[in-house]
């Protein structure tokens, strides 16, 4: 087992950089670099030197964490040095000279995983945490890191195992004096497991939106003020706004943070039939962006009559998730309409309402505020598979099939769940059986 080292803070210049060492030689290396006394978990001001020529590297704050009470479960040394790339490089080089090895990507997490400091779901959460773009996503990833997913699945898994135990006992210990299997009770318990799994799975849609961001596309015929609206929403000038229709030739995309939810806004070329080659290319992209999005903002010029392009767009988007936005409320001749959001990109009027409406579409997934969201596609897939198997088992039970046909899909379900929470072995089940029933001659 070697000792790994890595820069734990982003590259570049800053006040501080944090370098971490993990492994059997971590503390020894720190000592050779100048740490004299080691007090577990006490940040110590130390002058680091390079042993080969005694050159002073930096004055740092150094903390040791002895195994197993550390991030990785091994001895860990954390060095907070000045955030200059040159200093960082020389500190790391010195550790390499003293026998450390550069950590591979995710290797600290991997060691934490191997030493049981975190489970697989948590490791993935760390990854998600690092990748999280907004506060809310951070919050979700933190919850998973705190084992909430495993905790949420725990009772469901218990119920599943209970059902398995009863059914296995019935078919294996035929000659023993066991209470008769109450099929209806098992059916009820399995229904509860099913409901629980389904509820969790359903949060994936919202969770994915949270992780990746709601994709919102701004569409409308040329010159309704899409780009102005876009700019207002992202709160700075980005799109090129001119009076000539069709100036947004390309799609422009920008991410904004709406109360912690990442929203990816795309401004598109005005949808208009035209023979201009470049224009048509932009419109093709527009159509694709619309198809790809979670929410479409159909922008209309509220100060003029609706034209055929407007009606086309409205009917095209009738069955998609959309918000109809009537822009230019500052102009005379603006007619407010209910069922639409009335805004003025120029003055800012109505924008708050618009932002809230965009967020509301996320909440319309039937997910309660503050609930645990599945953000990981792998987990979603596993939960769906679990659900499928539970359904199969319940069907077999209802049709009065012999226990082994109910158990086959139940065991499959357990395997899928186990991929998230950790596997249940035959021994575990047997132990449960013998603890529950008096068996044996």
């Amino acid at each position: 087992m070697n000792t790994i080292v890595a820069l734990s803070t982003p590259r570049g210049r800053g006040a501080l950089a944090v370098i971490r060492l993990s492994g059997p030689d971590a503390i020894a290396i720190a000592q050779r670099m100048g740490l004299s006394e080691i007090e577990d978990r006490k940040a110590t001001l130390t002058t680091l030197t390079r042993p080969k020529d005694n050159e002073v590297l930096d004055q740092v704050l150094l903390t040791c964490f002895r195994a197993p009470h550390s991030l990785t479960g091994e001895d860990v040394v954390e060095i907070s040095c000045h955030g200059s790339p040159a200093v960082v490089r020389s500190v790391i080089d010195t550790t390499l000279e003293l026998g450390a090895v550069l950590a591979g990507p995710g290797e600290f997490t991997l060691r934490a995983l191997s030493n049981g400091k975190i489970n697989l779901a948590q490791a993935e959460a760390i990854r998600d945490l690092i990748a999280a773009q907004t506060d809310a996503a951070v919050k979700q990833a933190s919850r998973q890191l705190n084992g909430e997913l495993s905790v949420a699945l725990g009772p469901l898994k218990e119920k599943l195992i209970e059902a398995i135990v009863v059914l296995e006992s019935a078919l294996e210990f035929v000659e023993d004096d066991l209470p008769a299997v109450r099929v209806q009770e098992i059916e009820k318990e399995l229904a509860k497991v099913s409901t629980g799994v389904e509820k969790l799975a359903r949060t994936f849609a919202a969770g994915r939106l949270l992780q990746e961001g709601i994709k919102v596309t701004i569409t409308g015929r040329p010159n309704v003020g899409k780009s102005s609206l876009f700019n207002s929403l992202i709160e700075r000038e980005r799109a090129i706004v001119t009076d000539v229709p069709g100036t947004t030739r390309d799609t422009l995309t920008e991410a904004i943070d709406l109360e912690g939810i990442p929203v990816i806004l795309t401004d598109t070329a005005g949808l208009r039939k035209t023979t201009d080659g470049i224009e048509t290319l932009g419109m093709e992209r527009t159509r694709r962006a619309m198809g790809d999005s979670d929410l479409v903002l159909v922008v209309l010029d509220g100060s003029t009559e609706l034209g055929p392009s407007d009606h086309d767009l409205l009917s095209q988007t009738e069955n998609t998730r959309r918000l109809v936005v009537r822009n230019k409320s500052d102009l005379p001749g603006f007619a407010a309409l209910s069922g639409c959001i009335n805004v003025s990109a120029r003055t800012g009027e109505g924008l708050t309402t618009l932002r809230s409406a965009i967020l509301a579409s996320l909440h319309n997934n039937g997910v309660e505020d503050g609930s645990l969201l599945i953000t990981n596609a792998r987990h979603y897939d596993l939960l769906c598979s679990t659900q499928r198997e539970l359904e199969a088992a319940r069907a077999a039970l209802r049709e009065g099939h012999s226990e082994e046909l109910v158990l086959a899909p139940l065991h499959n379900a357990l395997r899928f769940l186990g991929q998230i929470t950790g596997e249940t072995t035959t021994e575990d089940i047997l132990s449960e059986i013998f603890a529950t029933f008096c068996i044996g001659k």
Partner: protein
Amino acid sequence: MSFDEVFDVIVIGAGHAGCEAASASARLGAETGLITLNLDLVGQMSCNPAIGGIAKGHLVREIDALGGIMGRVIDRTGIQFRLLNRSRGPAVQSPRAQADRMRYRAEMRRTLEATSSLHLRQGKVIDFVIDHGKLAGVVLEDGRQFGSQAVVVATGTFLNGLIHTGRRTYSGGRAGEPAAIELSETLKRLGFPVGRLKTGTPPRLDGRTIDWSAFEPQPGDEIPVPFSFSTDSLEQKQIQCYVGYTTEQVHDAIRANLAQSPLYSGKIKGIGPRYCPSIEDKVVKFSDKSRHQLFLEPEGHDTNEVYLNGFSTSLPAELQQDLVRMIPGMEEARVIRPGYAIEYDFVDPRELGPDLQTTRLPGLFHAGQINGTTGYEEAACQGLLAGINAALYTQKRESLRLRREESYIGVLVEDLIKQGVDEPYRIFTSRAEYRLALRYDNADERLEGYGRELGLVGDSDWDRFNARQSRLATLRAALETVRLRRSDARHAAVTALIGGDLGDSISLSQLAKRPKVDAQLIMSLLPAELKPINESDLNSVLADSLYAGYLDTQKAAIAKLYQHDTLKIPRQTAFSTISGLSNEIVERLDRAQPLTFGEARRLPGLTPGALSTLLAYLSAQQKSL
């Protein structure tokens, strides 16, 4: 070195493992010496005079398909036969039989004596002969030395056996028989990790002193199902067994005397099987149960002795007599032999390869209870495998390995050698992931080929097997092609029975999958030219069809989840060099030496993280090739 006799293979112990081992080895053409302490007790059943049961019956069938002898012997000597789980699916149905204990022994001995190249010898093995580090034979207590290239140790509960009855403890391998102490010392000296297990047995009663009318009779099946594929039908008269119950009075008396039980006084160090608990265990752990079930099993046509199943105990003999008399119907009952507990040595089965050969000393094989299993059938299947491989070893042929996907024997062996045992290992259907594929009725399909290849399955058996396979193929085809049409006379009647629409035309195989459709119905719908149809053939084909879908789903799930199972782990992989594996896990991997990622995944104690690490390592290795 001078040997009194020289064999190719020596088998130590003539219990269930030893008899199978010796028989198989001899029939493979190896000159085999079977050495036992007492030739009159060849094939002795130490406790329950019965063969089979759920999952155990499956093992006997597999033994039979491979060419072993247990199935035939029990068919000839069984006195009651029952197919368990008749009301359930075919995959979990399993045969069980009560045996005439004396006749079983006699028949087993007769079978062995009729086997050429098999030489029975009475004696006690106390040591191995090791010549320049190689196994060369065995040393007997009376001074004889036998030479051989391979040795199969099948010593059952005899290694350092210690019998406990109440406060009395004495050395013994079984009641009335001496323990094998020296051999255990030899194994320890050779460096084998030796542990301690225990088991127990109930008292035997004089049947003339029991009031049978107080008990519930349990008859055998009307048409008993044989164990061996070679047995067409069972003609012998069957006996009844009887079911009874203990009472609170019995429980109270036991609880009052726990101090006299070696189990509870801490005298016994070994770990017992969970599924063969003593009556003391039952009463203590499940004190809320007002009664515990008992089975009275007559031991044979020519004896009064009755086995009191469910009352395993090591309480003092006098107390056992008193307790028995508290059971309704047994007020006058007399105990002929008291029950007792026995502790014995076993050797960590992780010392073995899939051929049951020890890695420590080539040519040395271990089979049966010595590997930490419990049960005659578990022992016998190991004996068969070890005996086959011992002979193959001496003939320098490739060994026979059985996989867990194709047999319960494979499940048992892999569990033993990969996981070791914490307590006596008994087979259960739930130990097999592929339970739906491993049925008692398709054991021949799965394994007879191996038996034939080895030479253990004779011509008449092979012909019978092929004839059956051919009949099955015909039936399968018929089920696909024969359809029930709306125009058929029976269509309306069948629709009414099922209570659902069958469509204009449904194949019999599709129809069979519907609930309430049984074999009789299908039989009646098959064309006359196919008849007479063997009911068991039809059941087999229907079972295949029933389970096919489930098996496919399961295979798909497992393939998806465990898609890396077939990834090979190169021999001699230095697990300690894989960054990120804890010392404990490295140790487990070194011991088990898994050959594929799938084997590693099934090792106990391998965390998901460690598995990810291992997988990452193996994938990286693959890429660099």
